[in-house]
């Protein structure tokens, strides 16, 4: 039973560039959430996708956008990168929208913006 997978593992970009991160949910899960974790902090919610639609969004600018595909996999796109976007980006999958079930996290993508 495959868990949550994310790619790439590491990424280095320069300010102003654009980046796309990818996530495949755990088998049987249909909901994908993205979180940003700065060094020494807890994860911060970016947005959540269900049925190919963004259902919830945290306090992040429009430079952060996403997509969910029919196979439930998801992408996170960040435009016009800033130094402050350097962080670990975590994808989590769950079954359904309600917060009654566990969310399982992938290994994360470490983004460094120079």
């Amino acid at each position: 039973d495959a868990g949550v997978t994310q790619s790439p593992t590491h990424l280095i970009k320069t300010r102003g560039q654009q980046v796309t991160l990818r996530c495949s949910p755990k088998s049987g899960h249909d909901t994908v959430s993205w979180y940003q974790q700065a060094l020494g902090q807890g994860p911060q919610f970016i947005f959540q996708y269900y049925e190919e639609e963004e259902r919830q969004r945290g306090n992040f600018p429009d430079r952060f956008s996403g997509h969910q595909f029919p196979n439930y996999s998801s992408e996170l796109n960040v435009n016009a990168l800033l130094l402050g976007d350097s962080a670990l980006y975590l994808c989590a999958s769950s079954l359904g929208l309600a917060g009654v079930n566990e969310q399982f996290f992938g290994p994360g993508t470490r983004l460094t913006v120079l």
């Binding site: 909901t31 959430s33 919830q56 975590l90 929208l97 566990e102 969310q103 996290f105 290994p107």
Partner: protein
């Protein structure tokens, strides 16, 4: 703002000792989840305790939940060096459109061999 707050921020113990971490939260919840994170890596789900449960066990882990005090504790018994990690509590913040997890800052546990 963060929903959950862990206490202490850092904890250093010797192998074989027990480690207790606490979590407080602000609003009503239907469950609380604990996660472990090894340095710079993904979060590993440890345990979910529902609001109608007071205590739950999983191997060397024991979690308690006191909804009247809006607090939870995670006890790791007979700790091992491999338990060295950051531990986070997370609570679902529910809206009609879905549910997000809100995390505290975490407790950094160091188990010395």
């Amino acid at each position: 703002s963060q929903q959950g707050e862990e206490d202490p921020q850092a904890l250093s113990i010797q192998e074989g000792e027990n480690a207790t971490m606490n979590c407080s939260y602000k609003t009503s919840i239907n469950n609380l989840q604990w996660y472990r994170q090894n340095s710079g890596r993904g979060l590993v789900h440890l345990i979910l305790i529902r609001s109608n449960e007071r205590e739950k066990h999983s191997g060397r882990l024991r979690v308690t939940l006191d909804t009247s005090k809006k607090s939870s504790s995670l006890l790791i018994t007979a700790s091992r060096a491999a338990d060295t990690a950051s531990y986070f509590c997370a609570t679902p913040f529910e809206e009609t459109s879905g549910s997000r997890l809100t995390f505290g800052e975490g407790t950094q546990l160091t188990v010395n061999p």
